[in-house]
Symmetry: C2
Subunit: 788 residues, 2 copies
Amino acid sequence: MEDTLDYVGKPVPRKDGPEKVTGRARYTVDIRLPGMLVGGILRSPHPHARILNIDTSQARRLPGVKAVITAADTAGVKHGFVETPRYPADQDPLATDRVRFVGEEVAAVAATDPYVLAEALDLIRVDYEPLPAVFDPEEAMQPEAPEIHPSHPLVKEPFSNIAGKTETQWGDVELAFEMSDYVRQDRFESHLRTHGYLEPQATVASFEPGGKLRVWTSSQGPFIKRAKLARTLGLPYSAVRVSKAWVGGAFGGKIDLFSHEFCAALLSMKAGRPVRIEASREEIFTAYRHGQPLILEIKTGVKKDGTIMAQKIRTVNNCGANRGSGVVVIFLAWGFVMLPYRLPNLKYEGYAVYTNNPIRTPQRGHGAPQVRFAVESQLDMIAEELEIDPVEIRLKNARQSGERLPNGDNVHNCGLTQCIEKAAEHTRFREKYGEKYGRGRSQPPQTNEQTPSGSIRRGIGMGVSAYFGGSLIYPNSSSCVVKMGEEGGATLLTGAIDIGQGAETILSQIVAEELKIPVDEIQVIAADTETTPVDIGAWISGSAYVSGNAARVAATQVRRKLMHLAAEELGVPVEELDMAQKSVYMVRSPEKRLSYRQIVEASIRKRRGDSIIGEGHWRTMRDEPTHPSLASTKGRWSENYAFDVQVAEVEVDIQTGHARLIRAVTAHDCGFPINPLLVEGQIDGQVSMALGHAFMEELLMKDGRTLNPSWLDYRMPTAHNTAISEYIDVITEAYKKDAPYRTKEVGEGYVSAILGAIANAIYDAVGVRLVSTPFTPEKILRGLGKLT
Amino acid sequence: MEDTLDYVGKPVPRKDGPEKVTGRARYTVDIRLPGMLVGGILRSPHPHARILNIDTSQARRLPGVKAVITAADTAGVKHGFVETPRYPADQDPLATDRVRFVGEEVAAVAATDPYVLAEALDLIRVDYEPLPAVFDPEEAMQPEAPEIHPSHPLVKEPFSNIAGKTETQWGDVELAFEMSDYVRQDRFESHLRTHGYLEPQATVASFEPGGKLRVWTSSQGPFIKRAKLARTLGLPYSAVRVSKAWVGGAFGGKIDLFSHEFCAALLSMKAGRPVRIEASREEIFTAYRHGQPLILEIKTGVKKDGTIMAQKIRTVNNCGANRGSGVVVIFLAWGFVMLPYRLPNLKYEGYAVYTNNPIRTPQRGHGAPQVRFAVESQLDMIAEELEIDPVEIRLKNARQSGERLPNGDNVHNCGLTQCIEKAAEHTRFREKYGEKYGRGRSQPPQTNEQTPSGSIRRGIGMGVSAYFGGSLIYPNSSSCVVKMGEEGGATLLTGAIDIGQGAETILSQIVAEELKIPVDEIQVIAADTETTPVDIGAWISGSAYVSGNAARVAATQVRRKLMHLAAEELGVPVEELDMAQKSVYMVRSPEKRLSYRQIVEASIRKRRGDSIIGEGHWRTMRDEPTHPSLASTKGRWSENYAFDVQVAEVEVDIQTGHARLIRAVTAHDCGFPINPLLVEGQIDGQVSMALGHAFMEELLMKDGRTLNPSWLDYRMPTAHNTAISEYIDVITEAYKKDAPYRTKEVGEGYVSAILGAIANAIYDAVGVRLVSTPFTPEKILRGLGKLT
């Protein structure tokens, strides 16, 4: 199969490259419409307060103010990242009777210029009655904690402020602990990070006189935005059209409906003019949605040889003032626990807890980095106790193809063992690990001749992760339309959105391959709720697999039509024909051929006037009757579980406590790579994200207020910080056979495995076991006994 | 059939109404792109000259000038309205070695603002050597006339400057003249008018770094623009994307490629920034393409009872400096001659003649108004001679369904007789015509008591015309895609363009009807060479029929899918189901039903993830092997010939010579009206155009220069000039049976019949026979003997 591939599996450069590197790419903020107003939002200064009164009269009277809105102007429809009977929407687009976090949206204004806007926002008077607030999730669970929303009704335990709960089990954990040779329990904590997308959140909304609302907004998929905008505005879907502009990064942070999107739309409806709202970076840091800091308590029982007998995990997620995706993370975390290792007995309970913090949203990995940091760290702690090699203990427990999973699914295909072996071999892990690198274990660190300078220690560590591709949420399928052009090229209409991951390039390659048309001659029209068919959107690592297969099916339909038309024109049976280089030719006499141009010409002009159009559809688990829901932890989750192993090499300065990643090697069973260049790009790009996560980025909050709301104080990695990133692709034989479309996930798993690998490498280097992220000099010095 | 119609055949208001009447509709000039430059064109001051040298160096050095282009910067590809082996392209986008009309495009500039632009255009030095010029077509045909282009090689006669020729015959004309009781020959001339579209010609072009040229341009269909832009720029079609904005009138004047479109594109490619060129009204009047002034010599032989025995027609078209559509008009004119009346013997020859005038382009009716003015005028002259009633002579010669036409086709369906009868009856034509209204015949006019004031005379006249729907040129088919929305509405993707005729409304009605979805819930995405499938464009009266049927077929496919999905969900055979109000229900127990929303939901979410999409294709004469070309006058032209009769009532002031139309009654066999409101709109709208044609509008030229290049001096009718317009629709039984999609043409025919009707009415009023348009007071006074 691979031998016959012309465009798929090849390192095709990104289609969006030239526009982006020349600065000509148009993002949402570049859109200019005649008569466009500037919109802005008045936010709550309190983490928790009752709203007694809002007086907008002065603001409304200010010349240049064209619309002012508060909750009173809305349809009163709540929304939520999840909207199900179990988890009804709990979020107002504009605060009604109370505010629940600093920065919550209270009112919005559209004005002719930003100066009038600023003055108008100042002129709005809001009377608040401050209420007691709570910020720590474990405090929020106490009975005496202030109530933020009514607790999740299914939680019978005496916990307050429970936004959602996931509880499941497999086997008999307690019995398995009894039968274990060694059991230990540890607590791990992760910290608050934001996504750090470079393009700020921005929306342009234009309510047109015919009653149509047009919206351009920085997003990860326009269909979900349309659905939520329509519902909150009280409009039919058909009255709302959401279109893409280029997206300058998202990483999970632009999926859901944001209040500025709702406000831009409603302000445009009130003012009768287009309205643009662009969030300032300070607003994004302060009031927008961030990642999910999890607390994990893990109890693990093993046999002497390292075989895991049981795991019991309790997760607490500080989910902020609304459910957001906090309730999804506690559900997914269970998946990230169960996937990579054989766990014959597993008990899991996860709580998403309301606090008076900003709301949470998915962030690359969506819980996996936090979960894998904890599990991989503890696994090394166990291995050390049992005096087993970290590679060995991972190989012993690694899942194999065909194994049954705790959710009832089976791992139909798994290259994890090869990943562990190849990563270990490539990095000479066993040589480097332990003695040779001055590992501390329980004794204090010693000087080691092999390290570059007197105070520097090197260490190596390994982490494992797994992921899945596809979506559990609306819409969970993708459709594509492919139409042939008059010159033999083709246009793909897809709802899939390129947020920098290369979706348009990959989909072009797939259509190019099916039709044997050069990639350059595939035009992509993407991500507009009206011109393009429905698509799952760029999340849960679904684009390449779900949208990709929809594109493939659509192209196949076109292929069939081209072949049949050519057969008619040439007067030969279709079985005697094949395709290459934009032509259909007779296999036995290849000089007898028709170019696609001739076929299209024949069809449109000479024949019955049919242009050649194909449609294709796909969803994960296409032949399964139902998908699992958040309510059920059982059932098939994916048909393409991906596995990856990551080895980190670090240097730690024992004088300053400063640790840095110097090399990251990834072995990834990510299926057949449609575009190896993009796979590497995903992985290289994540090195910097992992660096930021491990060492640099932390959103510091006190009493619900962000203390470092700027790029200066919230430190993101730059080129200066980059580590060496190497990549080993591991394609299982089964996937090689089924290439090219049995692709798996790439891009989320890596950032998931690396935190554990780094923590283990730091331990290897200096004997300090870090149980919370980030890995700061302060914590390392404290571990070294140099700070108290 | 009609009884079951919910949306088709109903007076649905136009979809584009609210945006347009509120001023919020965005036309091409409203498009703003970041960094956009303003472009402008340097034009020839000479009607005919050799270009010796162009020096752009000073202009290029001017700060703010970002690009300057001349022919030297182009790919050297010519274009033409017609591009065939018989009629190869003869038009340069920018003049090369010579200019052939005043206003011809010589160079173009893109600059940061209009002031710099104006200065830069001034700084370009062009050295010309003036050449002898010719403006009158009959002079241009003389052997000694200056040669503008090499003459058409097939013309053997000693005529110069022949751009094209059509010659055909049917029967034996000379024999028939011999057998006639009465033969007469007359010469008619028509004058130069422009289209008078209110939106000026404008183009925004943006060459993007990835190599894609995006173009928004005021047009009658983006596909032809893309084809011609790509070819002249030397780009593949796939590198050019042409999108619609709203179009503020076109009337034939925005079909073809214009140099400003080419220049905006090339300037953007050179400057690397978006470029907008907007033509000034003076440029449009002076240098853009206008209608076609024809000279017709008609010799007709009749029997005593008025039966036409033979007609011999010679047409000369002053086609300007390039072929333009001048060669199409002399071909179509033959169609407009042969269609309405039974002509057993017919000989036709038409010449398109190059002159040093601006180029010609189609104009509403595309030759028919000129032809029918001549034929209808002469028919009344014959009737008078034979002392036959004008109604009678028309009824005697009117075509009937099934008759064979001189092109070999047959009139499959014809309501002309009913049109004549109904129009005559409705206007009490026979009562009013002649004696009662003071008709002059050969004696001088007399005072008539029934006229409103002493010097006012009333008259009534009749005209007949016929038209066809569909297209002979590329692309000659339309395709549509219909996709179901999540709420049970639908989106139509069509390349058809709404230029004010209501295409989007009509196509929405058709989709609404097929799917039983309210018109408001049909979204239309129109006229973009990438998002939408190929379409014939808004010309040759093809939109409603060709694009309409493509939309119907696409909707039918969706209908079938909805029915099958509903059958599966309900577990009943599809034969037991029907559709109404966005639901599929069981015919025998209508309470058992599924809403479309439920069906879409089931398909996208519960089933295999298929969104519901249909495609449809259509072309005229879909089952014919070939269309006729300009080279052959034989073969089927249309499958829906439309017929119309127009009665004009005029008042003529014998003191001032001023004539005015007071009432126009149209009986139109236009098939089944998809939207009666739009049919009436088309007809009412044309009253003003006919008024302008008959009495007011004339582009005055001297030596190739336009003397009245402004709205002040080129007088268009306003509300003040409007006449009463009444409409009688004539649907033949055959069409009633096949409703709703056996629609015919409406919108071109009417303006075609009225000139003859008005000329005949003026004769009826005051006995003055006008053989040239417009019908000025000067000509009438001269006819009355009051001017010499």
